[in-house]
């Protein structure tokens, strides 16, 4: 960009212009742009193929990560990785959806879309953590649970439903971070915890903008409008009281700087884990219940309108 003279500020001589100045200007411009990203641009960023995925964070946040495979029922689903690790020297269980960066990996990970056995594996590891009083960290990044014949046959809905109920009463701390795409029930299936954090350019939605457009507008052309209507960006969700913190991303976004993104997540995880670990299990359990209990938006209509 800087070697194209036509892009330089008017009147500046390409031979004398200070590279640092230009960099600063670029930075300023990007910052201004960044705060004005449309919801649809956020959706696209959340799916950016250079965005750090679960394993990129695992590598940077934990030591001695040791993967635990399989649901002991049917198989091992590579779309969800789970295991034990040390987080700043303390043992934790880690569960997260993993996308792939190239075609081979994407196929292996099924684009981060888990099967029922993935959700069952996730819960198995969480129960393992519960038994030995270790906290659970879940990393969410999925377009959704996989909609396929086998998934239906093996009870995709039941697997997610069961996770929701069991996570709600797990007796150890759970902190969930939405890294990229928070795709509906598939995300929520590992997303019930004491804290729910979201990276700035991640999204969390009941339905993808594309599907929403297909249903409400009867075509795929209105995804951008749907993204706006769904209010799926972290700023809104925080305002709604559905999530606990928005984690800022630097520069153009996490995809340009994995190390900084990991540092941000690391710092937030430490802070929230410390807070919820201090509570005794009864209290934590009560607070977790109340957290979700409050989520809603209802009004009591005038009784005179009521129907007999």
């Amino acid at each position: 960009m800087t070697d194209d003279p036509s892009r330089l500020p008017p009147g500046s001589d390409p031979d004398t212009v200070d590279l640092e100045d230009v960099k600063k200007q670029v930075h300023e411009l990007r910052k201004r742009m960044g705060s004005r990203l449309t919801p649809w641009e956020r959706v696209r960023l959340s799916r950016h193929e250079l965005r750090p995925y679960t394993l990129d964070y695992v590598e940077r946040l934990f030591t001695h990560f040791s993967e635990i495979h399989g649901d002991r029922r049917f198989g091992d689903d590579p779309a969800i990785v789970a295991g034990m690790a040390l987080f700043h020297g303390e043992p934790v269980a880690v569960v997260g959806q993993q996308k792939g960066r190239n075609m081979k990996e994407r196929l292996l990970r099924n684009y981060g879309m888990a099967q029922p056995e993935g959700y069952r594996k996730a819960l198995r590891i969480m129960k393992f953590a519960e038994k030995f009083q270790r906290p659970v960290i879940t990393l969410i990044d999925t377009p959704g649970a996989y909609p396929g014949i086998g998934a239906e046959e093996r009870g995709q809905a039941e697997a997610i439903a069961y996770n929701l109920r069991e996570m709600a009463r797990l007796r150890v701390p759970i902190v969930c971070v939405v890294l990229g795409e928070g795709g509906s029930g598939g995300a929520l299936g590992i997303g019930v915890g004491d804290r729910i954090l979201m990276l700035e350019n991640s999204v969390y939605s009941v339905i993808s903008p594309e599907s929403c457009s297909a249903i409400l507008w009867k075509d795929q052309e209105h995804a951008e409008e749907a993204a706006r209507a769904l209010k799926l960006t972290p700023d809104y969700l925080y305002e709604f009281g559905l999530i606990d913190e928005v984690l800022p991303e630097t520069g153009d976004g996490a995809h340009t700087d994995h190390a900084t993104a990991a540092k941000t997540v690391d710092e937030a995880l430490q802070r929230h884990l410390a807070e919820v670990s201090r509570l005794d299990p009864e209290e934590r359990s009560r607070l977790r219940y109340e957290k979700f209990r409050r989520m809603g938006a209802v009004a009591e209509a005038a009784a005179k309108e009521s129907l007999a």
């Binding site: 009870g155 997610i160 109920r165 009463r169 299936g189 969390y204 249903i215 769904l230 799926l232």
Partner: protein
């Protein structure tokens, strides 16, 4: 010419219908294509008398069928959505809600009621599919959670009859989080040892199946009900192949071990009475 002698002009069709008007009296079954007398269908609990096809029924009708003598007391009838997203697609959600409320006669897609079943006090929640596809927003989430909390406090068993396309997208993540909220409440009910039976009727899909509808102590379905996580169209588009016959029907789920029983509508009351006898003294 022998071929051209018949030159009668084309006649306009008779203006007066010659057939007997049967509109509203008879009904063609969606399944067996046979003509059924509407009265007969109604007296048969909206089940086709010829092929046993289970037609959808409304929430009030459902509650009348289940409770003793059809008697129940509704609670929380006036909860309504605040439209937290200020949602607008081709028309505003607010307008859609108002129109639907007028047309259907309920404030949202669920009716909660107390009453007796087989002489036993219980709470039954029934969904109204004609209300935006029985979709679950914050109102349904709140009403079901209150029903669970009431069941806990009053130590009454709970029945939820589902008929829903899933989470309501016009309430975005609020709808999604109802799945977690209800499931958390069900965890408490479970710990308290209070029985909950989930009845899945046609159709039960999406976020409703992926939360409370699959969390019953017993999960039972009506014959032929479509039950699944993803809708059949979504699956077809994803895997780009035709779905097997009977896929996601109650019988298919039974065969795959995903539901406990298929119970015809006629036998549902009896089934519940017996099941609760097992669960409670």
């Amino acid at each position: 010419m022998p071929f051209s002698k018949d030159k009668k002009p084309l006649q306009a069709p008779p203006t007066e219908e010659k057939t007997v008007r049967t509109e509203g009296l008879f009904f063609k079954c969606d399944n067996c294509r046979q003509i059924i007398w509407k009265k007969e269908l109604e007296s048969n609990l909206n089940v086709c008398p010829k092929c046993d096809f289970h037609f959808k029924i409304g929430a009030r009708h459902r509650l009348e069928l289940l409770f003793d003598e059809g008697q129940y007391q509704e609670f929380d009838p006036n909860l309504t959505s605040t439209d937290p997203l200020n949602f607008f697609d081709r028309k505003s959600y607010r307008q859609r809600l108002e129109e639907t409320q007028k047309a259907v006669g309920t404030k949202d897609a669920l009716i909660c009621a107390r009453g007796k079943l087989g002489g036993r006090e219980m709470i039954i929640c029934a969904m109204e599919y004609s209300f935006i596809g029985g979709s679950m927003g914050a109102v349904m989430g709140e009403k079901i959670t209150r029903a669970i909390e009431a069941a806990l406090a009053e130590k009454r068993p709970l029945v939820i009859v589902s008929a829903s396309g899933g989470a309501r997208m016009m309430e975005g993540a609020f709808s999604l989080m109802q799945m977690a909220k209800i499931s958390a409440a069900l965890a408490r009910l479970d710990e308290a040892g209070i029985p909950y039976i989930s009845i899945l009727t046609d159709p039960t899909t999406g976020g409703v199946t992926a939360s409370f509808a699959m969390l019953g102590d017993l999960n039972v379905a009506e014959p032929g009900a479509l039950i699944g996580f993803a809708g059949p169209r979504v699956i077809e588009q994803t895997i780009r192949q035709k779905l097997p016959k009977g896929f996601q029907r109650a019988e298919f789920l039974l065969e795959h071990g995903m539901i406990d029983a298929i119970v015809p509508r006629k036998e549902l009351r009896e089934y519940l009475i017996n099941a609760f006898k097992f669960c409670l003294s």
